[in-house]
Each structure stands twice: as structure tokens, then as C-alpha cells.
Amino acid sequence: MNHKIKSIIPQLLTLLFVVAVIGFFTINAQLNMDERGIDFGYGFLSQESSFDVQFSLIEYDGSHSYAKAYLVGLLNTILVSVLGIIFCTIIGVIVGVARLSPNYLIRNTAAWYVEFFRNVPLLLQIFFWYYAALRALPLPENTEPLFGVTYLTVKGYYIPRLIWENFDILLYSILAAIISIVFIRNYARKLQEEKGQQLPVLLISAGLLLLFPAITFVTGMVQLEVALPVLKQLSKTSFIYADGISVPPELLALVLALSLYTATFVAECVRAGIQGVSKGQKEAAASVGLTPNQILKLVIMPQALRIIIPPTTNQYLNLTKNSSLAAAIAYPDLVLVFAGTALMQTGRAIEIVSITMLTYLTLSLTISLLMNWYNKKIAIKEK
């Protein structure tokens, strides 16, 4: 009896406190909204937004609804996050491995990179790339081509646009290649476990991935045209490159800053993961006659990945959340388009901020669920 009361009282008090706080806020919000004559509701989402967005992945203009504006912002956020995650993984893995290099200079260069970029606020880095580094680029009319067909100018990065014919057939061929790769991998694993033979799976996979789409090209089912960026005069002093895809400088700066910043954390995770595999494992593998490549592929990586993935997932989540800093350089992401412009126009603070926060929550939880699933898949399976 005594024990029960002891455990119920603190719970009751906490609950009361939480309910009281929420209740206090709700009542005040109700009163405030009554006073200003706003009624709570999400009906405004279907109204005409009447504002334009600079950069959008889908067709959008002022005549579309607020819901569509929300979608534009969300897609832009996802675009930045995906690009950032890809680049930060590439840089992070390279730097993380470089930090363990036997070469003194490489080790220390990597260490300096990590120490510097992780100790400078991300916002400052974004500002640096956007307002200082990218602003120093030449105007479109004075730009020398980079890699022959792309142009890095102060107005953005212009790359060729690929125009596909029968793009779906190409997708099917890639799908077919992936399915056959899965089969070959399973066969290779079986072969390895039963007879100890090894197939060059990586080579075969790469070959298949090239071969299948190549067949569709040769047979003429799929055609590809490349639209190169062409200099076009808008007015007397204003030039742009037309026909290609233009990557706005905001996106460039954001992806650069996010991936360089997050890569430092990914690099530390990779380093910790590789160091976390005990030396005995490597020596044991070497003593049963595996080659260095096989040791890395079959012994070190599978164990290191288990250590690397959970903290790296956290970094991916952080990158996604940090992409909201886009608002600072006016890249039209979710925060700028929706929590900025749309909020200004409608004045519906509670609805819009809550939708924005819920969206980020959902994004975060989705990424962490996906990564948990992957983590479970590669976890040690006891036989």
C-alpha cells in the first residue's frame, strides 16, 4: 500500500504539471485568437498562395495553393539533404580512412581538416561559401568551361541537360541488371560458403550495370540527347546560360557547407569504426591466408560497419535538420517558403509552425527507422 502510493504520487504530480502547462497555453491561445478574430484550422492550405518561388523542382507559381507551396519547400529540403548526405559520406569516408593512413602528412592534413571545419559554426560556413567564395566567381560571359561543357559562374552552375527518349525502358533495364546482380550475389555467397571459391562480384555487377543499359542504346530503344548550356543575352549587360540545367548558387553553397561540415563528423565515426575492429581479427584473417583486399572486404568492413552506422545515422539526421539553415541565404526550403513567406502572408503562426515541426519530425523518424532496419540487417546473426 505504502509503496504503491509512493510510486503514484510523483507520477500524478508530473501528469498534473504537464496537463497544467498545456492547458494554460491552450486557453491563452484560444483567448488570443478570439481577440484577433482568427479561428484555428487548416483550411488556408487550399487557398491561392500568390507568391512565387525562385527555385522549384515541380511546376509552381502564385496561382497554386499553399499546400503546393509546402510541397515545393519540402522537395527542396529533401533535395539538399540527399545531395548533402551523398557528398558528406564520400568526403567523410575518404577523410576518415586518411586519418588512419600510415603517411604522416596525410594523417595530419585530415586531422587539421576535421579540427577546423567542425569547430566553425555551420551558419558561418554557409555565409562564407555564399557571400564570399561563390561571389568571387566570374560573370557568365567571362566564364571558362569546366570539364568542357559545364560553367561555374556567379549566377550558378550550369550543366548540360539530358533529354531522354523512352526513359522508362532504360529504368527497366537498370532494374533488370539489379535483379540479376542480386541473384549473382546470392550464388556467389553460396559458392563461397560451400566450396570456398570467390567470384569477382564487384566486377560482374559493374559489368552488368553497364551492359544492360548499353544494349537498350545499341538497339535504339532509348535515345539520349544532350542540351549543352548556351550563352544567352538577356539585356545589354546581363547574360545567362540557357538550355542547360542551372544549379542556383544558394544550393551550391548550402550543399558545399553542409557536406564539408557534416563530413568531419562522419570521418570521426568512420575512424572510430575502423579502429574499433580489434587487431587480432586482422591478424587472424591474414594468418588463414586472406589477401589484404579480402581482409578488408570480408573481415574488417562487416565488423566496422556495425560500429559506424548508428552514429553516422545521427549525423545524417543532423544534416537534414541543419538544411533548415537554408533560410539564411534565401534558398527556398521548407522553412523559408512555408514558415517564412506563407506565415507572413497568412499570419497563422500556430498551424504553420506546427506543420513545419511535424514535417521535420517525420523526416527524422523516417531516416532513423530506415537506418535501424539496415542496422538490424547487418547486425551479428548468431548461428
Partner: protein
């Protein structure tokens, strides 16, 4: 069999190889130095690509020639071991050396030799090609104190010096007083800090003129925000961590919900909330200062991260510690305060330091609500019509500033980690 590989030394002919090889390396580095520092190129007669890669090729040949294990020469052994253990590494070594050499002259020129620091106006910088440190010099006070009136800067300085003074009081607590050290830092010190900042920096009484928080800014605002953030998010995070580990379901799930919610949203939306949504939640006649709202938002946000870090420490403690404390008849709070938390906190010093670093690095985000600390002041200075075009100098200055602060903090946390390390 005669070894016909002419680039491979053996212990007999190593001396010759060493001389020739180091000669090659020396020539390759000397070539790059000539090219970058003096703009001279002695191999222009060679075709373009060969000319461009000549130093790399020479260097690689040189490194190849001196690569021999146990050569008998200690310096050569050390070089081989650390930068020259195979061709790939030798190539990377050369690349790093060359890049450094190529980047040094323009960087030095821009930062030092062609830079200006004299004068008080933009005119001093017009003629120079290098950096305009005059810009930093002129705006220095703004970067430090924001729009705070110039005459009152002594108030900020005095407040910070007094606060630092009070922070050191703990060192002088001896004997019986030492029991109260936690109490002092956890409860008394924040109150003192608030009083000092309220009366000295904000003013409004004792004959000090009132300065509204909109005028605060620069590095001092960074310090104020992160100081209160650090002080308050720690105890809140501790309570949340204990709550998440609690056996009482209501407390446990409320804590989990709180932590997961704040960790799932970006700080910028939280600040948005504090500035546009929070006033709606208060009685219409209540007014909370913008700065206080921002600091409260940061505390609530960072506490969730601190809670997760501390939970890691709590989970790492063996069960025996709990059982031992309970078998001595300790209640929940006595067990947590005297047995569990001291050990758990010791374990998570690096994690907490990382969270605090993140907090300091997050302070520039308060630009969202219109408060400008260093980075915000930079943006303001950059758009000042009298000083257009010196963004780079400002960003470099601020990066060095933040880097120094964060680096010092991380070094201090490493020191603490060593100091409190106990063998188990």
C-alpha cells in the same frame, strides 16, 4: 640473378641511390618553389603536360630510389616509414607538399604582405590588392558588443570580469565550505549571474541607463546566450535522463516524448516558434523579452541532447552499483546523487562537451529572431554601403574567433576527462 630493376636499391648500392634520389626530390621541390614564389619555370622547353607534371615525376622517381627497409640510416628509415611506404603514399606526400607550396605565396600575400590595417575609412583599402584588415579594426567594437552604446562598453566588460571572478570562488572553498560547492554552482551562481547581467548590462536602475536587448550583440551576446544555455540545460537534461530511466511509466513516457520531440526538430524552427508562436500562448498582457524567449528555447532544445548523453552514462554503469546503493538502504534520490550520477557524469564528459560545443556553435542562429551576435553583426557590416565588398575578411575573422573558442573548450574537456579518469 642480377637485379635489373634500376629504380630498386639494395643495401650494397644504397649510398649512391640515396644521393641520386634525394637529388631528384630536391630538384622537384625546388622546381615547385621557383614556380610558385618566383614565377620561374626552367622546363618550359618540354611539352605542356610533361612540363606540368615534371616535379611530380621527378619526386616519385626520387622517392622510389630511396625506398629501402632497414637502410641503416635513421633519418631515411624514418622518412620511408612515415611518408614513403609505397608509391601511392609517396605520390600523395608530394601532392600535399606541392599544394602547400603553391598555395602559400598567394595566401601570404593576401593576408599579410599586400594587406592594409592603417586608416579608419574604406579609402585606405582602395589601393590594396590584399585583405582589408582596416574593416575589422573599424568594426571591432561592433563585432564584440553589437549595437550597445559605445560609452557603456565598460559595463559589459565589468560584468564579464565579475562573473569570471565568481566562477573561481569554488577554488577557494576549503574545509566545510567544500560541501556546498555543488549547491553554489548549481543554484547560487546562476542567480548571481542573472542579477549582474540584469542590473549591469541591461541597466535601468542605480543610475545606469537602460539598454534594450535589441541593442545587445556581438561576441558578448554569444557569451551571454551560451552561458545561460549551458547553466540551465545541464540540470534539466539530468532530470530528463533520470526520467527516461525511471520505472514509473508516466514519467518515463513523458520524458521520452519530450526528448524525441526536441531532437527531431531543427533549432531554427524552435526559434521560429519562440518568436512567432510563443506569444500566442501567453496571456495577452504578459510580455517576455525576446532574448529571454530565445534563451529559454535554446535551453529546452539542448536539454534533450544533454539528456541523451547522460542516459548513455547511466546505462554504462553496471547494475551492481544500483544494487549496492540500495542494499545500504539509500533511497532513490540519495542513490542517484551520491552514487550513480557522479560516476555516470564522469563517463560522459566528452559527450557533454560536444553538446556544449554544439550549443555555442548554434548561437548564430538567433539571427532568425532579429538578434545579431558575431555572425549577425558581420552580415550587418557587410551590407553597410560604406563597407561593401569585404565579406571575406569578416568571415575569416569570425571563423578564427569561433575556432579558437571551440578548440579551447574541447581541449579543456580533454583535460577534465583525464583529471577525473578513475581506473575501474
Amino acid at each position: 640473378m642480377i637485379n635489373i630493376n634500376i629504380l630498386k636499391p639494395n643495401s650494397d648500392n644504397f649510398q649512391t641511390y640515396l644521393y641520386i634520389g634525394s637529388g631528384f626530390i630536391f630538384i622537384s621541390i625546388f622546381d615547385v618553389i621557383l614556380r610558385s614564389f618566383f614565377n620561374l619555370n626552367f622546363s618550359t622547353s618540354l611539352p605542356g603536360i610533361l612540363n606540368f607534371f615534371l616535379p611530380l615525376i621527378l619526386g616519385l622517381v626520387g622517392f622510389q630510389m630511396i625506398r629501402l627497409e632497414y637502410s641503416g640510416n635513421r633519418i631515411v628509415d624514418k622518412i620511408n616509414e612515415s611518408v614513403n611506404n609505397n608509391t601511392f603514399n609517396a605520390g600523395l606526400t608530394l601532392l600535399i607538399i606541392f599544394l602547400t607550396l603553391i598555395a602559400t605565396p598567394p595566401a601570404l600575400n593576401w593576408m599579410i604582405f599586400e594587406a592594409t590595417i592603417s586608416g579608419d575609412t574604406k579609402e585606405a583599402c582602395v589601393a590594396t590588392k590584399g585583405a582589408c584588415w582596416t574593416y575589422i579594426k573599424v568594426w571591432f567594437r561592433r563585432f564584440m558588443y553589437g549595437m550597445y552604446p559605445n560609452d557603456f562598453h565598460w559595463r559589459i566588460n565589468t560584468a564579464f570580469i565579475t562573473l569570471i571572478g565568481f566562477a573561481f570562488v569554488g577554488y577557494f572553498m576549503r574545509g566545510k565550505l567544500k560541501n556546498y560547492i555543488t549547491f553554489y554552482y548549481a543554484i547560487f551562481y546562476p542567480i548571481i549571474a542573472f542579477i549582474i547581467i540584469n542590473f549591469l548590462i541591461s541597466g535601468g536602475s542605480f543610475g545606469l541607463e537602460w539598454v534594450e536587448t535589441n541593442a545587445w550583440g556581438g561576441l558578448s551576446l554569444t557569451f551571454i546566450v551560451s552561458f545561460f544555455g549551458l547553466i540551465f540545460c545541464f540540470p534539466l537534461g539530468m532530470i530528463l535522463a533520470l526520467g527516461r530511466r525511471s520505472e514509473l511509466p508516466v514519467i518515463k513516457y513523458i520524458s521520452i516524448g519530450y526528448i524525441e520531440f526536441w531532437r527531431g526538430v531543427p533549432l531554427i524552427t524552435v526559434l521560429f516558434m519562440s518568436s512567432v508562436m510563443f506569444p500566442m500562448f501567453l496571456p495577452s498582457d504578459a510580455f517576455v523579452d525576446k532574448l529571454i524567449r530565445v534563451i529559454a528555447a535554446i535551453i529546452l532544445f539542448e536539454a534533450a541532447y544533454v539528456a541523451e548523453v547522460i542516459r548513455g552514462g547511466l546505462q554504462a554503469l553496471p547494475r551492481g552499483q544500483y544494487d549496492a546503493a540500495k542494499s545500504l538502504g539509500m533511497g532513490y534520490w540519495r542513490m542517484q546523487i551520491f552514487v550513480i550520477l557522479p560516476q555516470a557524469l564522469k563517463l560522459v564528459i566528452p559527450g557533454i562537451a560536444n553538446t556544449f560545443l554544439a550549443l555555442v556553435k548554434d548561437t548564430p542562429l538567433i539571427f532568425v529572431v532579429g538578434l545579431s551576435e558575431v555572425v549577425g553583426m558581420l552580415q550587418m557590416a557587410k551590407t553597410n554601403p560604406k563597407w561593401l565588398g569585404y565579406a571575406m575578411e569578416g568571415y575569416i575573422f569570425a571563423s578564427i574567433l569561433f575556432w579558437a573558442i571551440c578548440y579551447a573548450m574541447s581541449k579543456y574537456s580533454q583535460y577534465l576527462e583525464l583529471k577525473y579518469k578513475t581506473e575501474r
